[in-house]
Symmetry: C2
Subunit: 292 residues, 2 copies
């Protein structure tokens, strides 16, 4: 599999995820319209749908068939959870961001109250979607990844570290929790839906952890090195607001070296899959090549 094949794959999953999200989400005219408009505005913002792609690739690696409705719905739910976290992160009392993906953030395009409620609604609707799949393991999996031992814990420490001198251990904690936990859950959920063995799920968990952390390290690097236009949000904004980032605590070169090391560790974990792991291998490569 080449990088070009992978990009085709990502496009295919993204298109199928858009269709699934269109079906799942209430219409913009469904009463009360404003919150449904905000939910759709926020979720249809042109994201790459990395999490549904990881879920589907893991699902296929464990014997599942591309395009399975359950896997697509679970992937759509992941995007809903992810968008919920972005909407709340962008709020004035949090990161106070005015733009995301080149457009006004939800509380700017609508208002703050509706952004709080719309985020809540995406989270709850995503649980409803997962509930409809009838597999309780998916509920406990995602709840654990999103809670204070995962994403929300990372978000708290991220905010509380702003403007302070933090050590590398704290930045690792933030990134593992805030970003890697949901990416790890994406990979695990694909394996769970495919009915993979405990051993396979364990190795895929480690893979997910490594690439999740690499993903955020690369994000930190891009924030420093890219232009505002490339990012669709303010470049260098992490540094300016005193965010805890890898380049800030260990320098750019070490950050790049570490991202490569994490990717190689991820590859080792999925060696047991043989050729069935090609997609996941390439996905890890894709994450790192964003900085090459």
């Amino acid at each position: 599999m080449t990088m070009s094949d992978l990009k085709d794959y990502l496009r295919k999953v993204a298109a199928a995820t858009e269709t699934t999200l269109q079906e799942i989400l209430p219409g913009e005219t469904d009463y009360p319209g404003s919150i449904h408009q905000l939910m759709r505005y926020s979720i249809f913002a042109g994201g790459k749908r990395i999490r549904p792609s990881l879920l589907m690739a893991s699902f296929e690696a464990c014997g599942g068939t591309f395009g399975d409705q359950g896997a697509l719905k679970a992937g759509a739910a992941l995007e809903m959870f992810h968008t919920f976290s972005l909407i709340h992160d962008d709020l004035p009392c949090m990161d106070d961001d005015d733009f995301r993906r080149g457009r006004p953030t939800a509380h700017k395009a609508f208002n703050e109250a509706l952004a709080v409620l719309g985020g809540d609604a995406l989270c709850i609707a995503a649980f409803e979607v997962l509930g409809s799949l009838g597999n309780i393991a998916l509920i406990t999996e995602i709840a654990s990844a999103l809670g204070t031992n995962g994403m929300l814990g990372g978000q708290v420490v991220d905010i509380e570290s702003e403007g302070k001198t933090v050590d590398r251990e704290t930045v690792e904690y933030i990134h593992r929790s805030k970003t890697a936990a949901l990416i790890r859950a994406s990979v695990r959920m694909g394996a769970i839906i495919a009915g993979a063995s405990t051993e396979a799920i364990e190795k895929l968990s480690n893979y997910g952890n490594y690439i999740g952390l690499a993903f955020q390290v690369v994000d930190d690097i891009l924030d420093e090195e890219s232009t505002t236009e490339q990012l669709g949000k303010d470049a260098g904004s992490d540094r300016e607001r005193g965010k805890a980032t890898f380049p800030a605590v260990c320098g750019m070169e070490e950050s790049k070296r570490y991202a490569r090391e994490l990717t190689e560790s991820a590859w080792k974990e999925i060696g047991f899959l043989g050729p069935k792991g090609d997609l996941l291998h390439q996905l890890a490569e894709f994450i790192i090549t964003r900085i090459s």
Copy 2:
């Protein structure tokens, strides 16, 4: 069963719910401590635990045994969802309340960012608790009650109606969605855990709808008639901020008459339970006597 017996029952459920919540919630020193402190501060604020009581009473009416661990955990989850909604409701961008139950609201006692995240965390932890019970019907039930067809939809219309002249139909929609949906779900979940028949669940749903609406109508009446000290929050504050309330759209006398009518309708629905319905009958009575 007398009103005094009911009050004993409510105290027993409240005590068991406190114990369950103490076991479920992360400790105040668990990292990151601040969010866990906020979650505990908000949930251990001396509420009457009406929702867990309704769940347990419905569970018993359908053949369950008092104190069942699953029913207690589901009741604890209901309080977590309820508290999540209160924390977000109180935020400056929403109702902007400084006090609740006589104490500073979460964003006042901590800060706004932590209040958003702490609310999110209670919601997600509650899904994790329900997930641990292994009954997927509880997940879809609560997600549907909390979403934009339920609680969150009501919250949106409530906020958007502020300061406007609204009709009785709109106030009914707000109250049915914002308050009655979660109360109805409490009653349904008790029946679901007990393995009740579809017919029984349907009648209990109607009962839950009636008492949920009565509960909010009575709340509106109390907001007008009580003193600030009695309420633990500003009396008459609904009126002052132009909230859509029953007394505002149809007067105090009609509001009281309607609350009584709803209670009687609720009683009729649970006639099929015979003496096993005594507790639920008395609970409906309890809601209305708060205004007598």
